[in-house]
């Protein structure tokens, strides 16, 4: 999956949750105060379900998913990891 597609899926999802706010790729969504306290878990569920990956404990940190760019990197790394694992099999 290419970066643009991942990014557009994330933005589409975020826009559903934070209507009327134009999120930039480097905006820290947690510092902006535009998401509620349950959002972290909601976001993790979105990432795992939509990109077919399972995040490790250390990847669940808010620091890893605070901006759109962070999320793209995390997702890309996990997809790569998964593909490499599948190749080994």
């Amino acid at each position: 999956m290419d970066t643009m597609l991942i990014k557009s899926k994330i933005k589409e999802y975020l826009m559903r949750s934070v209507r009327n706010y134009e999120i930039k790729d480097d905006d820290n969504i947690f510092e902006l105060g535009i998401v509620h306290s349950l959002f972290t878990i909601q976001l993790i569920m979105f990432i795992e379900k939509n990109f077919g990956i399972e995040l490790e404990d250390e990847e669940l940190d808010i620091e890893k998913i605070k901006t759109v760019n962070d999320m793209v990197e995390l997702i890309k790394n996990n997809i790569e990891k998964k593909e490499k694992g599948a190749l080994k099999l």
Binding site: Y13, R16, S17, R19, H36, S37, L38, T40, I41, Q42, L43, I44, M45, F46, E48, K49, D57, E58, L60, D61, I62
Partner: protein, 373 residues
């Protein structure tokens, strides 16, 4: 017609278990405000303590719609037992999601078998709905955390063997497992509850309790934002479904009584003002069930909107149970106000169901604040 699946069979098993094992014990459980350990073993033998546990750890790994239907059956029979299953869901789901493989292998099979009774400890004297205010403090000392703090209104606190406890470490949320026999861990029973009388509540005191690092669930900093949120989300769903069962029980008792009770030469069911109450009960129970069904389907699909749907289901279903149990007592008149009358218990239990896993007012803030057209 829907085919008979293992999930359907489990719902029927729950119905039979409630009828044959739970209902005949209610009077004893309520009188003693206690459910003996043997009953937990009985529930475990039928699989009910492993509803949320993966099959590879000895559980049933049920989907959410089936889980919800089972909670409805237990809620219809006896909310004190239904709420025990909620506690199990609130401990087992986060343990499975955030726990290490060693933790899962050590605890989940024992929990499913009924050998280890579990409890979850979030609430404190100064922290209820506002969990960020919790004061239980964990300090790392070598390979252990040293824990100090107090927990209050902890369901199953009197008899649990293992507690999922929440606190802070250097201001960051932390979740850890505490075993009953840990030195410095004191259990003080809380008696005289309005409802859910057999839930064996306790206040817990942790005085320099040493917990090995291996008992940490998730990472430091994830305790409240991830583990507690995940647990509460689970608790909201199962409590909402329990409320639907409670509402259904109120409805059935009210209908029976309204058919049998003759006043002014006719069953009171034929009186229009009673019909008004019955209609509101029927429609509200059904509406709550549909909200739970919606939440269950979204949860099964791992849809992020399931969290909001679950908030709505718990908000509506718990308020419905208070309203419906109020009507059920009203229809029964004086005979519904006597200890031992089923509707008297429903009325008391419903109020607790509206408060546990977050009071309605908290939901009003969350739902209105986060709703998007």
């Amino acid at each position: 017609m829907k085919s008979v699946t293992n999930e359907n069979i489990m719902i029927l098993k729950a119905r039979d278990f409630v009828k044959e094992q739970v209902v005949p014990s209610i009077e004893e459980f309520e009188r003693n405000a206690f459910i003996p350990k043997e009953f937990f073993i009985k529930m475990a033998k039928h699989g009910f303590l492993g509803l949320s546990i993966p099959k590879k750890y000895g559980g049933l790994e049920l989907d959410y719609l089936t889980l919800g239907a089972i909670h409805e059956e237990f809620g219809k029979g006896y909310c004190s037992v239904q709420n025990i299953l909620t506690v199990y869901a609130m401990v087992c789901k986060p343990l499975n999601r955030f726990g290490t493989e060693d933790q899962k292998q050590k605890w989940l099979p024992a929990i499913a078998k009924g050998e280890t009774i579990v409890s979850i400890a979030i609430t404190e004297p100064k922290a209820g709905s506002d969990i960020k205010q919790i004061e239980t403090e964990a300090v790392l000392d070598g390979d252990d955390y040293v824990i100090n703090g107090k927990k209050r209104y902890i369901t199953l606190g009197q008899i649990a063997d293992l507690f999922l406890v929440f606190g802070k470490c250097n201001g960051r949320g932390i979740a850890f497992l505490v075993e009953r026999e840990t030195p410095g861990f004191e259990i003080h029973p809380i008696n005289g509850l309005l409802g859910l009388r057999a839930n064996m509540l306790a206040e817990l005191h942790l005085k320099n309790c040493r917990i090995p690092k291996e008992n940490l669930i998730g990472r430091v900093g994830h305790g409240l934002s991830h583990v507690a949120t995940f647990a509460l989300d689970e608790g909201r769903y199962t409590t909402a479904c329990g409320c639907v069962g409670l509402g259904q029980a109120c409805l059935e008792e009210a209908f029976k009584y309204a058919e049998d009770r003759i006043q002014f030469n006719s069953p009171i069911r034929e009186h229009q003002l009673v019909q008004k109450m019955l209609t509101e009960m029927i429609v509200n129970v059904k509406a709550a069930r549909l909200l739970c069904h919606d939440a269950g389907m979204l949860r099964d699909a791992a849809d992020p909107s399931s969290i909001a749907a679950t908030l709505m289901a718990k908000y509506y279903a718990s308020k419905m149970s208070v309203m419906v149990s109020n009507y059920a007592v009203q229809i029964h008149g004086a005979s519904g106000c006597v200890a031992g009358a089923a509707v008297e218990r429903f009325y008391r239990d419903s109020k607790i169901m509206e408060i546990i896993e977050g009071a309605s007012q908290l939901y009003e803030i969350h739902i209105a604040k986060n709703f998007r057209i």
